[in-house]
């Protein structure tokens, strides 16, 4: 066990992947000498050279599109998108090409491209640097989408993504890059399957589902609720596509109440998908409607008011109270 931050854990995970898989390579803007704007690729160009750690021209469509070509030639590119809001010049390549190549080729072609996207708010930044666009990608069949909430998961997930034969997008919770935790670099243990949700805290009165940056918030809310005598289960979703409905359903069958929290706007979001699925799978166990806590239907607001926008402990507790009031 070693203690490290999420940023360092991804850095170490990438180092291991580059070492273990000679056909893997990193691509992105400023990922070389600078080590990425979040230093996630720090030191890697020195160790692996510019053929394996590629400082690309400034063009996201170019990054994703050429990564697809490299993948067709047998490579496993790991692309860094500098910020959530800058993925969109590459959106066409991701949704029309990357996601569909395997299907279009009747299963003959595989494009195991990995895309890393730092996402989410809470860092007091300027516009386009705080967004949570995961639902836009989750709606696209052919992509797998995972999001670590702690260093151990981050270390293993990046390697599992490189190993996976499907395209994988890793949404990295940027405001938690400096969150420290224990990492077992010898064995993944519970992190064996990146597409499985984890029950982080057992409870009987209600379930809170969260992922990425809101996992620590959900845990804090559950702890606060406990002081008021409520027993709350917390699930870290870990994977958005596929989504581990079995784990969520089992929890709701036990607690009867479900709150889903994410930074992304609730309208058209992952929370809505979970609510619909759970009402289909566990209708008779539900004591209350599934309640979503998330961003509002507006462009991510300016830094000085992002606290009013982002779900926090209070917002989750308010939702919990509503759920428990039925």
């Amino acid at each position: 066990m070693t203690t490290m931050t999420i940023a360092k854990a991804i850095n170490e995970g990438l180092r291991t992947a580059l070492t273990d898989n000679p056909k893997s390579l990193l691509m992105g803007e400023d990922i070389g000498a600078l080590g990425g704007v979040y230093r996630v690729t720090d030191g890697l160009i020195g160790e692996f050279g510019p053929d394996r750690v590629v400082d690309t021209p400034l063009a996201e469509s170019g990054i994703i599109g050429t990564a697809i070509g490299l993948a067709l030639r047998g490579y496993t590119p790991v692309c860094e998108i500098q910020f959530d809001g800058f993925v969109f010049p590459g959106f066409n390549q991701i949704t029309t090409q990357l996601a569909k190549m395997h299907a279009r080729s009747n299963g003959n072609l595989t494009v195991p491209v990995v895309i890393r996207i730092p996402y989410g708010g809470g860092i007091g930044s300027v516009e386009h640097h705080s967004e949570s666009p995961e639902a836009l990608f989750a709606h696209t069949a052919g992509l797998r989408i995972i999001t670590p909430s702690n260093p151990h998961d981050a270390y293993w997930m990046i390697q599992q993504a490189v190993d996976c034969q499907d395209p994988v997008i890793i949404f990295e919770p940027k405001r938690r890059y400096w969150l420290k935790g224990e990492v077992d670099v010898e064995a993944p243990g519970l992190a064996e399957d990146p597409f499985k949700a984890h029950v982080l805290r057992a409870g009987t009165d209600a379930t809170i589902v969260a992922y990425g940056p809101l996992v620590p918030v959900a845990l804090a809310a559950a702890n606060a609720a406990e002081e008021d005598g409520r027993s709350v289960e917390v699930i870290d979703l870990r994977s958005i596509s596929p989504l581990d409905f079995d784990t969520v359903t089992a929890s709701v069958k036990k607690t009867g109440r479900l709150i889903v929290a994410h930074e992304a706007p609730t309208f058209g979001g992952i929370g809505g998908e979970i609510a619909a699925r759970i009402s289909e799978r566990a209708f008779h166990s539900l004591e209350a409607p599934v309640i979503r806590v998330g961003g509002f239907h507006m462009p991510y607001p300016v830094a000085k008011v992002e606290e009013d926008y982002l779900p926090d402990i209070d917002r989750i507790l308010e939702a919990l109270d509503r759920a428990l009031s039925y």
């Binding site: 400023d30 000498a33 400034l58 010049p89 007091g124 516009e127 507006m298 402990i313 917002r315 507790l317």
Partner: protein
Amino acid sequence: MGTHLPATEFDGTAVDDQREADAEAVMGEPPAQMVQLLGPDGKLGFDPVFTGYAEKLTAEKLRGLYADMAAIRRFDVEATALQRQGQLALWVPLTGQEAAQIGSGRASQPQDYIFPTYREHGVAWTRNVDLAELLRQFRGVSNGGWNPKDTNFHLYTLVLAAQTLHAVGYAMGIQRDQKLAASSAAVVRSDGQDNGAAAPDAAVIAYFGDGASSEGDVHESMVFASSYNAPVVFFCQNNHWAISVPTNVQTRVPLSNRAKGYGFPGIRVDGNDVIAVHAVTEWALEHARQGKGPVLIEAFTYRVGAHTTADDPTKYRESEEEDAWRAKDPLKRLEKYLRAEGLADEAFFAKVKADGDELAAYVRRTTHDLETPDIRSAFANTYVEAHPLVAEELAWFEEYSAGFATEEEPARQAVTAQASQEAGH
């Protein structure tokens, strides 16, 4: 195999062009064809086309250009300090690029419309944008901060290169306005009535960086501009770096050469020479306003400071390079010229300094006083017309916030207590 394209379109010069382009490959120093009028030594040179434009700059205008450059450099220092003090979330410094920005901005006319990136504070200054309003974005109280309709200076665009297409579309609108005005003038004339003064011809400037030049949007914007002969000037500030990535990752030929491929003129100008930048931009805007189509200007300059206050250039470049460019400083060379020619005296430079200090004090004061925004305005501005989901979420937010206002207790307990009361627990 394959068919050959008609010789009229491809007459063999393509190969020569390629050789020429190879020879011109960017290797540190700019190639000789860069337009420069005022050298780092402060001596005025000659250019067959652009000297004529430079000669239009009176002593007063030259002093004005110097004062502008000094003002925004002072502003840059102040904004950087405000960021350090926590008054701004981020600052994007422009030091080193004053001539490129002031020279081009001052060449524009009020009726022209400007699409900046996020570093064009100097251009903003020439368009009379209140610098305190400009700081709103960097303080995190607004995503815009000024009304573009007041100054014809568009909002900053942070998604690189997106604005280049907006600029071309705007220029296409100008073309249509001109046709509409011409046809309505014809109608009015036949009625024998006075149509009043016609609107002056206008053009558009699209700013972007050497890094952004790689984005697909820049290519598409140049295709559209060329296809429709749109009155747009593409103004690329090649400041040699896109954060940590040097320009030779983006291009192997001078960026200005790319214009040739789209079929319009491309000019590389010494971006630290305010006289040349002004002359070239004035020429290009005239060219565009006269219906002769787009122009690409590459201002060869240098980002002397960090990319932003969050950046550390020592990670990726040598300080010798920075020093070499400091020696080409845009302000110093104009100062040398003004002094040598006796166009400005000590009192002038003292006044510029005093004005700078006053500007800095104003910016400091107004930044502290900038409003604290309210998320309600974000609800209000998401749509033009009423939207039921926004209304519903706003109503929820109001009710939710009201729950905090009445309680003295810490927020969490307040909500928990109140809600559990309501729930009858």
